[in-house]
Symmetry: C2
Subunit: 401 residues, 2 copies
């Protein structure tokens, strides 16, 4: 019997440990795995031989339950870009030396599109140099920007947080009798999926959010001011949803107008404060009360609002990734796809890592309205079955005035 090592990578989610729990569960049920290891901080754990035996700590269903309901990455995470075998042969030698040391037959890497690049590289290398080692991927990201699947594990829980929070903020923002604008910034560098889920806060037409700006459409300052002024004609408290990554027509981030930008290992700019730039615009050009809110880390770690659907799907994807590895596959990513619209049904399967690695699925242009300040019916058609009515914890929303 061979051993298994699991690692987690990229930004954490509420559901990423559910996937880990699924992998452990399948390892236990398979009878084909001897020891279960975890690599600390993603691929760095294999590079630096930071590997811990975790199987003996997760033998009781209670512990798997606790793991499933722990937000963030229980094994730690990293943002580390592996070179190619030609560029960085020493990285591959270190990783496979570590895998041999622990007699690993199965590597499962849980992560987003950058992490699936690691799965692709390692599995390609293994095919030639270590064909007895299977390398498989299990997806996760709150951004929902992974290709090859209907939606990403972790997205539904973040969406539940976003929709619930917009519904509650709407109650709060309407309390005073003075006109106000509230700018709420949601995570999403290049894809607006999570920001779009704010639309699920609406119970009837005219409900918040009143304007939604996604990074897929260039943000125009003058149009924004005109949009807000128009909404203020009919709403005392205008609530605006924006993605952190909205950018100007010249391609620069709106947030770049404010403070310093930093760059991570994948060359992504660490963004801050698009909401504060827009707050400044509203205060100076409209002159009304304005508040900037950032949903910050809460949107990706609010385990108390985890979607049970999300946790279940994430667990199953982990089980599938290991199951297919045991059956001799390598270089694949476990996915789920929509096989029927009405009734909504999904099916689980796999795709080659190359279909997911380094790609980003953006919101289609016609899922955003012509004016670029709201989403359209196809987006609702996509989102609604994912987030059943019971998933959004809407407040009472009883106004007496």
């Amino acid at each position: 019997m061979k051993n298994l090592v699991v690692a987690q990578s990229g930004g954490p989610t509420v559901a990423i440990n559910a996937t880990l729990a699924g992998i452990v569960e399948r390892a236990i049920t398979s009878g084909m795995i001897d020891k279960i290891y975890g690599a600390k901080h993603g691929i760095k754990g294999l590079l630096d031989d930071q590997v811990v035996e975790i199987g003996s700590r997760l033998t009781h269903p209670d512990e798997l339950y606790r793991l499933t309901h722990t937000p963030s990455s229980a094994l730690g995470s990293c943002r580390f870009k592996l070179g190619t075998p030609e560029e960085k042969p020493e990285q591959y030698e270190a990783i496979f030396r570590c895998l041999r040391k622990y007699d690993i037959g199965y590597v499962i890497y849980i992560g987003g599109n950058d992490s699936m690049d690691t799965v692709e590289k390692l599995s390609e290398y293994a095919k030639i140099h270590a064909p007895d080692i299977a390398v498989m991927g299990a997806p996760k990201t709150i951004d929902n920007d992974l290709c090859g699947m209907d939606h990403s594990p972790g997205f539904l829980s973040a969406a539940k947080y976003v929709a619930t929070t917009f519904a509650e903020l709407s109650c709060d923002c309407n309390v005073y009798d003075v006109p106000s604008v509230t700018i709420v910034e949601v995570m999403g560098r290049n894809a607006g999926w999570l920001t779009a889920t704010s639309v699920l806060a609406r119970e009837k037409p005219g409900d918040a959010p009143h304007l939604i700006y996604l990074p897929e459409v260039p943000f125009e300052r003058e149009k924004f001011v005109a949009d807000v002024k128009e909404k203020m004609q009919t709403h005392r408290a205008v609530i605006v949803a924006i993605s952190e990554g909205i950018h100007n027509p010249d391609g620069s981030y709106v947030s770049a107008g404010f403070g310093v930008t930093q760059t991570d290992a994948f060359g992504h700019q660490a963004l801050t404060g698009a909401n504060r730039v827009l707050e400044h615009i509203v205060r100076t050009e409209i002159g009304c009360k304005c508040r900037a809110i950032e949903l910050s880390l809460m949107q990706r770690c609010a385990a108390h609002l985890a979607s049970e659907t999300d946790l279940a799907e994430s667990r199953i994807l982990g089980e599938i990734a290991l199951d297919r590895a045991i059956h001799g596959e390598s270089g694949l990513i476990a996915v789920l796809n929509r096989v029927s619209e009405d009734p909504y049904r999904i099916a689980f399967g796999t795709v080659p890592a190359s279909e997911v690695a380094n790609r980003e699925r953006k919101v289609p242009r016609d899922w955003i309205n012509e004016a670029g300040n709201d989403v359209t019916e196809p987006m609702l058609h996509y989102l609604r079955p994912l987030m059943g009515e019971r998933e959004v914890a809407r407040p009472g929303h009883l106004s007496l005035i």
Copy 2:
């Protein structure tokens, strides 16, 4: 039979509508009230004759349930400081003309210490000019800074949000293997009660938050830097809780070092960004990864995390305020007090509005440690029975590394 008018004032909470529901419930059960009115946007509704009949909309228990679980103020709110009868006789004439128009016998005002100033002024005026009109107060504030009572309605729900969020953020912040500091700003201009509830996120010594700064102790920049450096010796991810109103030794707000300050009708400065000032300090003086988080409006409107204890207490206080008015009292505030420590028990009662109006209860100095960067055992002794274990929605918190 006389009529009743209710109004809500000050910053909204998750529980302020539970108090309104309690008042309506007692009005229904008393058999002594004819019509139930709501004044829109607090005292402004009585000044401007913006009064709506609400009793006929709240006759079904389902509607009272919905109202109880709606965050923010269903009647709208205001921040409006009433003059004295000598300064502004026209205000009193307008208000009592409005009360006469609707044949009001009972006025219940739900609000914080500023709002209780309104209760005191109106009840004093009524004693002389309209002795058949009773004016009573029901308390609310997430700040927990009201005198004359053990704790303030609205505080427990906000505390549940704060403690839960710190526990979840702790999971998220520990994910990477680089040193980091996270500064989390909690509401509280002059009193640190709500920030102190972050301590309830701790399950064992050493858990986050690692440093807690309240406005009751002057904030010293050099000491802060030394505190953070010391915690970084033992914690990779240092999490710091601060009140929005922490201030420098010279009395100026720490947030005043950043951007514009605005002033509201009560002369309170609208604060923004103490967390961003501290983020800047950490980045420049320590040079590590640092993130500033503001719990913003979410901490006062997260109805999905409402404390059921809080909702029940808030409802009962509303019932008592009206009940005592029906029995001939005026100028009182409904309160709850701790009558036994072990077992923890509370009793409901009333105090004169003057004991609550315009006063602020701050955290006692010895409930904060000597160094001014944490709370002490008396604070835990006070908080623990308010927030039973079941109230804090702690995540699984299972770390495998």
